[in-house]
Subunit: 334 residues, 2 copies
C-alpha cells in the first residue's frame, strides 16, 4: 500500500537532495535531466523517482564521480556503481582515503559478506527496526572493546557500512537516522563517564556552517577525551568568526573541524585557509571527516604563505591519525 508519492517543488528538492536550485536548473538545461513537470504557474514539479535518482547521483558525485557521466547511465548501473564504492577514475583517487573510514582499510571489500560479524549483526538489527537489540549489541561491544577500540574498530566501519547499505537501497534514511542517534547517545554517555577536564591540549570541536554531521566529531572527541585532552564541543555550524572568538575565549590549543563528503567541495579549501589566517599561529587546525582531503589545497596555500611546511593545518584521514596527532602534539610541547 504505497502512498502515491506527490511531486516536489524545486525548493523541496533542494532540501531533500542537497543540490542547489541553480544546479538543478542548469542540469535540466544541459543534460535534459531532471525533467520535471510543470504546474499551472509554470513552476517545476519533480516526480519522486527523479528525486530518488538525484539523491543517488548526488551521493556518487560526493564520491568523486562527475555529473556528465552519470546522467546518461541507466538506473540499475547507477546502483551497481554506487555499490562498488568510490570512483577510481583518474585523479579522483585522491579522494579515496577521505571517503573510506579508518579501519575499513583492512577489510578489502565493503560489500562482500566479509564484514565483521558484529557489524553484520548490527546491520541486521537496524534493518529490522529492533531498537533494543541494536542497543544491546552496541552496548555489549562497547563494554567488551572499551571506548577506544569501539570507536575505531566498530563505530567507524559500521557507519561506513550503513552508508553503503543506504546506497544499495538496503537501508532507508530514517533507519540511518535512528542508528546515528543511537551511536551518539552511546558515545555521549560514555563520554560523560570520563574523568573529564584537565590535561594538556585544549581542543575545540565544531563544524562550519552548512556542515551538519557531527558523528565524526563525537568519535574524535571520545578518543581525545579518553587520552585526557580537554574537549570543548561547540556542536555544528559555528561561523568562522565565532570559531576564532571561541578559540581565544577558551584558550584552545587545537581547533578540530569535520567535513563530510557532502560538504560543497569547492568551499572547503578557501574556508580552511581563511580560518587558518584568522587563528593565532600557535593554534593548530585539525581537519577530519570524509571531505577532509579537499582541504589539501589549503595546506599547500598555508605552506607557501608561511614559507614553512603544512603550517598549522593537519589533515586526519582516519580516526587513528587523530590519536597519532595527539601524540605528536604532546611530544612537541612540554
Amino acid at each position: 500500500m504505497n502512498a502515491p508519492r506527490p511531486h516536489l517543488s524545486i525548493s523541496a528538492v533542494e532540501r531533500d537532495t542537497g543540490l542547489g536550485k541553480d544546479t538543478l536548473r542548469a542540469w535540466e538545461r544541459r543534460y535534459g535531466f531532471p525533467s520535471p513537470a510543470r504546474d499551472d504557474c509554470g513552476e517545476r514539479l519533480y516526480p519522486a523517482e527523479q528525486v530518488d535518482r538525484l539523491r543517488l547521483i548526488k551521493r556518487l558525485i560526493d564520491q568523486g564521480h562527475r555529473p556528465g557521466r552519470l546522467v546518461g547511465v541507466a538506473d540499475a548501473d547507477l546502483v551497481q556503481l554506487a555499490a562498488r564504492g568510490t570512483a577510481a577514475t583518474g585523479t579522483a583517487a585522491s579522494c579515496v582515503e577521505g571517503c573510506a573510514a579508518p579501519a575499513t582499510a583492512g577489510l578489502s571489500d565493503g560489500q562482500a559478506s566479509g564484514l565483521a560479524p558484529l557489524i553484520e549483526r548490527a546491520l541486521t538489527h537496524i534493518r529490522a527496526h529492533d531498537l533494543p537489540a541494536l542497543q544491546q549489541t552496541l552496548n555489549q561491544a562497547l563494554l567488551r572493546q572499551g571506548v577506544g577500540r569501539f570507536v575505531i574498530d566498530t563505530v567507524g566501519p559500521l557507519s561506513v557500512a550503513v552508508g553503503e547499505a543506504w546506497m544499495r537501497g538496503e537501508i532507508e534514511v530514517f533507519e540511518e537516522h535512528l542508528y546515528t542517534e543511537q551511536i551518539k547517545t552511546l558515545l555521549r554517555q560514555s563520554l560523560s563517564a570520563l574523568p573529564g577536564m584537565g590535561a594538556a591540549p585544549r581542543v575545540l570541536l565544531t563544524t562550519l556552517p552548512d556542515e551538519l554531521h557531527t558523528l565524526g566529531l563525537l568519535m574524535v572527541q571520545s578518543l581525545l577525551a579518553l587520552e585526557g585532552a580537554t574537549c570543548i564541543p561547540l556542536g555544528a555550524q559555528t561561523p568562522l568568526f565565532d570559531i576564532r572568538l571561541a578559540a581565544q575565549a577558551h584558550a584552545a590549543d587545537i581547533v578540530a573541524l569535520s567535513f563530510s563528503a557532502s560538504f560543497p567541495s569547492r568551499q572547503v579549501a578557501p574556508l580552511v585557509s581563511q580560518l587558518r589566517g584568522m587563528l593565532p599561529p600557535h593554534v593548530e587546525l585539525w581537519i577530519g571527516g570524509g571531505g577532509a582531503e579537499r582541504a589539501r589545497a589549503a595546506v599547500a596555500a598555508a605552506a607557501t604563505g608561511n614559507a614553512s611546511d603544512g603550517q598549522g593545518i593537519r589533515i586526519l584521514p582516519s580516526l587513528d591519525s587523530a590519536l597519532q596527532a595527539l601524540e605528536v602534539w604532546r611530544s612537541a610541547r612540554g
Copy 2:
C-alpha cells in the same frame, strides 16, 4: 585587536543569515539594503556590518516584524526593538505564544533583572566562558529540581534568556552553541538513566528537513520519557516520506515535530498538512517549538478536510502542554 573582518559572498551571507540569495537580491533591489560592494567580476561582496544587521533583521522578522518596516530603522533602534521582544503590531500578536517559551509567561519582563537568580547565575557563567561552573550550576539545579521541573522551569526560560541576550548583543553565537551543547549533554545523560522503554504511547521525535534545532525535541523527550512513554528519536531533518515509513516501522502512536522560529514560515502549514495526509489517521501529530503556531492553518485545513475538529494535529505552545497532551492521550485510550 580586531581582525579586519573580510567581506562575504552572497552564498556565505545566505549561510550566515538564513536569508536566501533571491531574498537578498530582492531586498537590495527594493529597499536599497543591503548594498554590497562588487568584486572584479561584478559579484556581490557584503561588508561584515551589513551582515550583522541582516542577522538582526532576520531574527526580528522571525518574531513577527516585517522587512519593509525594519530596513529604514537606525541600528540603535533596531537593537532596542530586539531587546523589547516580540512584535506587538496588529495581528502578528498571534505569534507571541509561539515565540516565548513556556514558563516565561510568568516572568512579566524578560530583560529586567527580574529573572530567577539561577538563570542569572547561569547566564553569568556563559558570558564568562566558565564551563565547569556552568556545568556545576546546571547539574545542581537538575538534582535539586528533578528532571521534570528542571526542563520546564530552568532549561526553557534559560534558553529564551540566552536567545534574548544574543539579540541584545550580550552573548556571542559560540557562547550560545556551547550552552546548547551542555544542556544537550545533560539531558541525554539523565535520559539514559531513565528506566526506558515500555509504556503506552510510542512517540517518534524528529524535525523536518531545514530544521536543525533539536533542543526543544530533547526537552520534550525528557518529559515524555519521564512519564514512561517510549521515545524513538530520529534526530533532525527527516524527510516527510521517511517519517511515514518510520512511523509505520516503529508502530508509533504519536509523531512529534519541532519548528523553531527561524523555520521558513510559509512552509510550515503546507508541510504539516502534507505529513498529516500521509500518516495513518490513528497516529497523532504533535507540533512544538517557537514556530509551532504557524501550523494553525494546517490544523484548520485538516479539520475541514476531515469534517472533524483539529483532526489529529495538536499544537503544543509550551512544554507543559506536552504533558497535558500525554495525559489526554492516555485517558482517551486504554
